[in-house]
């Protein structure tokens, strides 16, 4: 199958500007600047049905149409903070197919009449940042970035910005705060970044993978894009497969591909003698799907898109599919997720800050064999108490794995506590 996002798997040195240009790179950008109006690009992306690939699945074109045209300047920010455990798709795109991302950022900037684009990378991606800076420099030398491009009066500058090790900076408003030099903590919403964003100005902020789709959509059109994937979730998706799996890694597949296809056909199935026990389709922020013999087929044949995963009690999220086999207990799994969220909680709001700490203390007791049956009720109660009250999604999502594990895998916990 042809790769559209992980193009380096078909064309190994597509990461070199020379090769990228040879394969039609930046032709679309040139065509857009010289013969298309920004609104045409927005309409094309809207019609394509492209949904945000960072986890929320919000229609990208609709987000772009929220940008008001009476407040200036506009900014475009690429969210390369990729910190969700189990997610490693953006990394591969940036390392191996950087120019398609950069062309995507450039087209998005033009579409939204922004003259400055930012790529915000998590602090741990400093090598990728240096690499992207190099790529940007090459583009500037080659005349694809800079002032008055292709003889038009459109100028564009793209800058990279490095974070400093905080998962919360993947949250769009915390990301903007971080770029502004402030503590990476989410803002009160509304207002949303589309109206009050970077430096208080209208800002489009999209995930790496989302923006990497843009050159293809503009080049080949919304119709073409809709020919892949499903009706409500069109297009290709890079699935990050990890966990107890023989061939972990990134797999570019159309949305709507089943779990069975991803896990067994592409991923080579589970190690010898192991059975699937649970699936976390959205990384650590997932509700864990329980897989029994009875429910195996139903789950495996569920198409992975933004609608159908709900039928098995979870959400697609960023499609970071973590497979858990029957050699693990779920208390071990949520011990990991709770520690992760407690560590990454920004501390701004009470329920996430204090709730995650509390959950951590309880699950530590469970793991250490010092818990009683009431602790399970307590853990569920604390998770329920946090949900719906937090300032941002981190707090809410930190409870998903906990609540689902306690509900769907009670036997794992009951055996760990004394009555």
């Amino acid at each position: 199958m042809e790769h559209f996002l992980l193009r380096h798997r078909d064309i190994p040195d597509i990461g070199k500007l020379e090769t990228y240009l040879k394969h039609g790179g930046f032709e679309t950008f040139k065509k857009a600047l010289t013969s298309m109006k920004p609104q045409q690009l927005i309409d094309e992306v809207k019609n394509s049905g492209l949904r945000g690939r960072g986890g929320a699945g919000f229609p990208a074109g609709m987000k772009w149409s929220f940008i008001p045209n009476n407040i200036w300047p506009h900014y475009v920010v690429c969210n390369a903070d990729e910190s969700e455990p189990g997610t490693f798709k953006d990394r591969e795109i940036m390392e191996k197919n950087p120019f398609q991302l950069l062309e995507g950022v450039a087209l998005t900037c033009y579409a939204n009449s922004a003259n400055e684009g930012y790529i915000y990378l998590r602090g741990e991606f400093y090598q990728i940042r240096n690499f992207l800076d190099q790529c940007i420099k090459e583009l500037e030398t080659a005349g694809f970035l800079g002032k008055n491009l292709f003889g038009t009066d459109y100028s564009l500058k793209i800058k990279t910005h490095l974070g400093a090790g905080a998962y919360i900076c993947g949250e769009e408003t915390a990301l903007l705060e971080s770029i502004e030099g402030k503590r990476g903590q989410p803002r009160v919403r509304p207002p949303f970044p589309a109206v009050v964003g970077l430096y208080g100005k209208p800002t489009v902020i999209n995930n790496v993978e989302t923006l990497t789709n843009v050159p293809l959509i503009i080049e080949r059109g919304a119709e073409w894009y809709r020919s892949m994937g499903t009706e409500k979730s069109p297009g290709m998706k890079v699935f990050s497969l990890s966990g107890n799996i023989n061939k972990p890694g990134n797999y570019e597949l159309p949305l709507g591909t089943t779990f069975r296809e991803l896990i067994f056909t592409q991923g080579g199935g589970l190690p010898e003698g192991r059975k699937v026990k649970g699936i976390m389709p959205a990384g650590a922020s997932s509700s864990i799907i329980r897989v029994d013999d009875e429910t195996f087929d139903k789950v495996m044949d569920t198409p992975m898109d933004y609608e159908n995963v709900q039928n098995v009690g979870s959400l697609l999220g960023s499609a970071s599919v973590i497979v858990i086999d029957d050699s693990h207990d779920m208390d071990w799994v949520i011990h990991k997720t709770i520690h992760f969220f407690k560590h990454e909680s920004c501390g701004k709001c009470t329920p996430c800050r204090d709730g995650n700490y509390w959950m951590m203390k309880i699950v530590d007791r469970i793991q250490d064999g010092e818990a009683v049956a009431e602790d399970l009720t307590l853990l569920k109660s604390v998770a329920d108490q946090m949900y719906g009250k937090c300032l941002c999604a981190l707090g809410d999502f930190s409870t998903m794995a906990v609540t689902s594990a306690l509900e769907r895998f009670p036997e794992d916990f009951e055996k760990k506590v004394t009555a």
């Binding site: 919360i168 503590r183 009160v188 909680s345 800050r353 700490y357 203390k361 946090m386 009250k389 300032l391």
Partner: protein, 812 residues
């Protein structure tokens, strides 16, 4: 007129201006929504999540854009699936808010439970107990039992000095961010911040010295728990043991309304003493703030070991002795008054003066009051109303040090769009909020101010100003300089005299300087000429700090000194009288905005002391002069009869209270902190009296400047004045004597930053430490007032020798 929005909160329908937050709207109809991080004076943060409520909004059909209706025709209201914070949501038409149903109450209780998990069980030893938001809300509606393992509670530092004045207990902190946001947005000095994240978040200070702000004390008022406490008050007393006595601070001319919290205690020998000073709300003066000097300094004077006290026999004896001298001298007597005396003291002393046919002067380093008397801010003026279209000029004043609350008010006015022009000979903290900073060399004050209207941008803004307010201070100036400056400043407000929010404000150095001028008392210009061979009665002033003045006073015929504390003047006096301290007596004062305010006694007076006015009445009677009863009510009545500016003044007018916003106190402190409700009077403005009063001074010699190095007096908030000296906790802030100079001056005299030098000025030799300040303009050294060797006006100085080169530790 703002658009009004109609909404329902619980069972109440209300109408509030567009742009109101739900939490504030609820307050107006008596619905109390609990908050921690929200404060009515600051932008909401939505952090603590305590104010969760259920919000419903009228449904609009997406397709038609029309409201969706119920069967009976009423709008269908859609409630959000999640609870929302009342502090971040604005009211909208037809909104329905529920604050009392089970879902909301459970939600709020759950947030309290989260906050309590890591909160220590400190109530028995915590200062805030009894006036604590967390305690009150938990008792009202919180969980009764803890489900959290005690051993799981996070242990943190409990006794951290953020700066030497403010301590933080990290276990108690609920990370609401009020202190950080106050320092950043209201004080404009972001010296606090969060450090680390998640459960490890701590409040830290970024400045050195720590928590370097003169507004730091306000954070202890707004901290909802006992995390921030002041060094003076911590472990001092329980709120319910104290009474809050209303007073007005007399340490500068803003006249902050304050409360002294007092209690009777064994530790003080059964006396009633002041335990702390906290702000009292007066939105037209200090809002709900006060500066650290007022909070920490001054009130300890009443307990100083240097108090004067006379037995009844001594008092009678001294009255006779004093009266005899005065009766004999008659018009060869002179009365010198301090600017902290109350209007009642001044009125009485003025009566005595007239009865003797003598002269009365104030002991002051500032002139220009005849201009503020004629052109001061008329009734209806409020600095809080100034904004876009208004022009504020600040001339020769380091407002942050001379009147800190004015710095807050002017900074806020600038943020509302007022044009703030700061003209000074050196950089001050207000510069960063100014629209224009005009720098001149010391000595060029008058030309610079006069020249403002000729400048391009500033001149245009001045000519188009809706309202104009001019402040003048005494940075680098003495009596003559400030008088000339005031005259120059007056030019900008003369045409708008009598119009509200237009006028001249003198940033005086004492609490009732304006009151002194209002009663027609002017500063003494030449001490020697005035007192030579005269009988001198000095009340509330200490001229003899200066050795020259001391010698001059010794040349007087007879000296009567009246003071709270023993000092140089009382020591050389022939007769001494013991005054009551500010906290021991009642009185009224007029602030720089011409507002007359009523201060009440906080503690019983030391035995053997009397209010200054009472002493004057006795002396007057002994001189055979008819003296009015010196009560506040009577004196205000008499002033209303005799002085045009006091025509609307009466006890009733001064003690009148009004509803203020935000509502303060009233049975809860979680909304705006432990600031006191003002139940005793907002004060009353003196009337505008038309008719410009000519100063009758010789015009300034302009343009002449010599190359002699001069020491110019500047104001430092914390100095060696007696009010600050009584609180040793402020010693580090006072610091060693530092003289400021720019680099060219330093190079000329071959000294470097932090060097110790020997100076010769006015016949005296003084040691001081050099502080390089690049912004100082002119061949001067700035010399803070109220230190040894301080000058009262620009004075020639010689840098004799460098005694000690700077070492790494020599500064402070």
């Amino acid at each position: 007129m703002a658009k009004m929005i109609n909404l329902t909160i619980d069972d109440k329908t209300l109408s509030v201006p567009e742009g109101t937050l739900i939490v504030d709207a609820a307050k107006t109809v008596g619905v109390e929504i609990p908050v921690f991080c929200y404060h009515p004076k600051m932008e909401p943060a939505g952090m603590c999540r305590q104010c969760l409520v259920e919000i419903g909004r009228p449904m609009i059909d997406r397709a038609t854009g029309k409201p969706v209706l119920e069967g009976d025709g009423t709008p269908k209201v859609q409630f959000m699936p999640k609870l929302e914070t009342a502090c971040t949501n604005l009211v909208s038409e037809g909104m329905v808010v529920k604050t009392e149903n089970k879902r909301v109450k459970d939600g709020q209780r759950e947030i309290l439970e989260f906050l309590l998990t890591n909160h220590p069980l400190d109530c028995p030893i915590c200062d805030k107990g009894g006036e604590c938001s967390l305690q009150d809300l938990t008792l009202e509606d919180g969980p009764a039992l803890s489900r959290f393992h005690f051993d799981d509670k996070q242990r943190q530092e409990k006794n951290v000095a953020l700066g030497e004045l403010i301590f933080i207990d990290r276990e108690r902190c609920i990370q609401c961010g009020r202190c950080i946001r106050f320092q950043d947005k209201i004080a404009g000095e972001p010296v606090l911040g969060f450090y680390q994240r998640g459960r490890a978040t701590d409040v830290v200070t970024f400045s050195d010295p720590g928590f370097d702000s003169v507004f730091s004390g306000n954070t202890t008022d707004i901290c909802p728990v006992g995390a921030l406490t002041t060094v003076d008050f911590r472990f001092g007393a329980r709120p319910w043991e104290m009474n809050n006595m209303p007073s007005v601070c007399d340490l500068c001319s803003v006249g902050c309304n304050i409360s002294y919290s007092v209690r009777r205690e064994v530790r003080s020998g059964g006396k009633i003493v002041v335990k702390r000073a906290i702000p009292r709300q007066n939105e037209q003066v200090n809002e709900i703030w006060m500066c650290d000097k007022g909070r920490f300094a001054g009130y300890q004077t009443a307990e100083s070991k240097d108090r004067l006290s006379l037995t009844d026999e001594q008092f009678s004896f001294n009255v006779t002795k004093a009266a005899t001298a005065l009766k004999e001298a008659k018009q060869e007597s002179v009365i010198i008054v301090g600017e902290k005396l109350t209007n009642e003291d001044l009125f009485t002393l003025h009566t005595l003066t007239r009865g003797l046919g003598a002269e009365i002067f104030s002991w002051s380093q500032m002139g220009g009051g005849e201009y503020t008397r004629a052109l001061g801010l008329p009734p209806g003026s409020n600095l809080g109303d100034l904004g876009a279209g208004d022009v504020i000029i600040v001339a020769a004043s380091d407002v942050y040090n001379e009147a800190p609350i004015y710095y807050l008010r002017l900074k806020a006015a600038a943020s509302r769009g007022a044009t703030l022009v700061v003209a000074a000979a050196r950089a001050t903290k207000l510069d960063q909020f100014a629209s224009f900073v005009v720098r001149y060399a010391y000595g060029d004050e008058v030309e610079t101010i006069k020249g403002l209207e000729k400048k391009d941008k500033i001149g245009k803004l001045i000519s188009e100003a809706k309202n104009t307010v001019v402040f003048f201070g005494s940075d680098g100036l003495g009596f003559e300089g400030t008088t000339e400056l005031a005259a120059a400043c007056a030019g900008y407000v003369r045409s708008k005299a009598g119009k509200a929010n237009n006028g001249l404000v003198g940033i005086w150095q004492n609490g009732n300087a304006q009151g002194v001028w209002e009663q027609g008392i002017k500063p003494l210009v030449n001490l020697e000429k005035t007192v030579k061979d005269k009988v001198v009665y000095i009340v509330g002033a200490n001229p003899a700090t200066d050795l020259v003045n001391m010698a001059v006073l010794k040349g007087a015929k007879f000296v009567i000194a009246q003071s709270v504390l023993e000092n140089e003047t009382t020591q050389i006096a022939d007769v001494v009288f013991a005054s009551q301290a500010h906290t021991e007596r009642e009185g009224t004062m007029v602030n720089a905005e011409r507002r007359l305010q009523h201060a009440f006694a906080a503690v019983p007076a030391l035995s053997g002391t009397k209010p200054d006015c009472d002493i004057a009445v006795e002396i007057g009677k002994a001189c055979g002069i008819k003296m009015d009863v010196p009560s506040v009510a009577n004196v205000l009545k008499r002033l209303a009869e005799t002085e045009k500016a006091f025509v609307n003044i009466s006890l009733a007018a001064v003690d009148k209270v009004e509803e203020q916003w935000p509502p303060v106190g009233k049975g809860e402190e979680y909304y705006s902190g432990t600031v006191q409700e003002n139940k005793n009077g907002l004060g009353a403005k003196l009337a505008h009296v038309s008719g410009f009063i000519s100063a009758g001074l010789t015009p300034a010699k302009s343009g002449e400047r010599d190359e002699i190095l001069k020491a110019v007096p500047v104001t430092q908030l914390y100095d060696h004045s007696p009010e600050v000296a009584v609180n040793p906790n402020l010693n580090d802030r006072v610091g060693i004597l530092k003289i400021g100079m720019n680099r060219p001056t330093a190079e000329k005299y071959q000294v470097a930053d932090a060097d110790t030098v020997q100076l010769q000025l006015a016949g005296k030799s003084v040691e001081a430490t050099v502080k390089i300040d690049e912004s100082i303009t002119g061949n001067v050294v700035t010399y803070p007032r109220n230190y040894a060797g301080s000058v009262s006006k620009p004075t020639a100085v010689e840098l004799l020798a460098r005694l000690q080169k700077a070492s790494a530790e020599s500064m402070n």
